[in-house]
């Protein structure tokens, strides 16, 4: 008898399961929330613009009393939104034209964070300088060439 009841209950459970599931689902569907997703409606878009680095100011150059040392200074450069740039690249050109370079001796090599620097061990000759403002990997336009600075040959004095 007990075995018969067990079989009958299992059969009833199998028959009722879909009804129970349907009832639960019906209850869930009767909640007061409907669902939808808004996508890009007209007007649901915008833009962000990047700044640009302005051109550098022309540097002033002077030969220091040491002789083969050139001192440079320049005005601050900004981005197009007025923010100050974070560094400057300094280059030295032969006055008659040619390839730019900069001595590793002094404070003008690499990215200069200040508004002045000093280049030491400048070879004899006539030179012009430029600066290029930079922010991260961005660079502004190179400044105009400075005035000419003439560096003479080194003089060696031997004491006899």
């Amino acid at each position: 008898m007990a075995r018969f009841l067990g079989v009958a209950l299992r059969a009833a459970a199998r028959r009722l399961t879909p009804v129970v599931v349907a009832t639960i689902l019906a209850g869930s569907a009767a909640t007061a929330w409907a669902f939808w997703t808004t996508s890009s409606a007209s007007g649901s878009s915008g833009a962000a613009t990047a700044a640009t680095v302005n051109q550098g100011a022309t540097p002033s150059v002077t030969l220091t009393s040491i002789g083969r040392e050139v001192s440079l200074s320049w005005g601050a450069s900004t981005l197009s939104n007025g923010t100050a740039v974070t560094g400057y690249l300094v280059k030295r050109y032969p006055a008659g034209g040619g390839v730019a370079t900069i001595s590793p001796i002094g404070t003008c090599s690499g990215t200069v964070a200040s508004l002045s620097c000093v280049e030491d061990d400048v070879p004899p000759g006539n030179w012009k300088y430029t600066i290029t403002p930079s922010v991260g990997s961005w660079k502004g336009s190179e400044s105009l060439l400075s005035g000419i600075v003439s560096v003479g040959a080194a003089k060696y004095t031997t004491a006899l």
């Binding site: 399961t17 879909p18 833009a47 613009t49």
Partner: protein
């Protein structure tokens, strides 16, 4: 039986409707006419290593129901400069992670998203305009 089990999986994506007091369903605007319009302030002057706030305004055009915005997403989809791709290397977007936003009928709410230009940004992105697309996922509360 399987069909019954599949029902709750398919309903949320397809049910652009709401229950009414009479127990029936009525349509709410579909994807082609959303009830939340998102606008943002114009962000300008981005440069390497700087963050700027993008303030989004979510305006509900539904004057009968409150809306609960569950998710807001901003994507950069294009730029105006060749070589400046709309990727995380050039413009990172810190999405809104705050609580759900309840918008009363016909009103607006604002959320802030952060735009960050990393140092890895390409030189080609100077002066570029990044086109942004805003999307939201919301629920509407039906009046019963």
């Amino acid at each position: 039986m399987l069909a019954l089990l599949a029902l709750p999986l398919t309903l949320p994506a397809a049910a652009f409707g709401e229950t009414t007091g009479a127990g029936g369903w009525q349509l709410v605007p579909s994807r082609t006419s959303p009830l939340v319009r998102i606008t943002g302030n114009r962000v300008s002057g981005l440069y390497p290593s700087v963050s700027k706030e993008l303030i989004l305004t979510l305006k509900s055009s539904d004057h009968r129901h409150s809306i609960v915005v569950r998710r807001v997403r901003v994507r950069d989809i294009a730029t105006t400069n060749r070589g400046c791709t709309p990727t995380r290397r050039n413009l990172a977007i810190r999405q809104y992670k705050g609580a759900h936003i309840r918008i009363p009928p016909g009103q607006a709410r604002s959320v802030t998203v952060l735009l960050f230009m990393p140092n890895t940004v390409s030189v080609a992105c100077e002066r570029a305009m990044f086109r942004l697309r805003y999307a939201a996922q919301a629920r509407i509360k039906a009046s019963r």
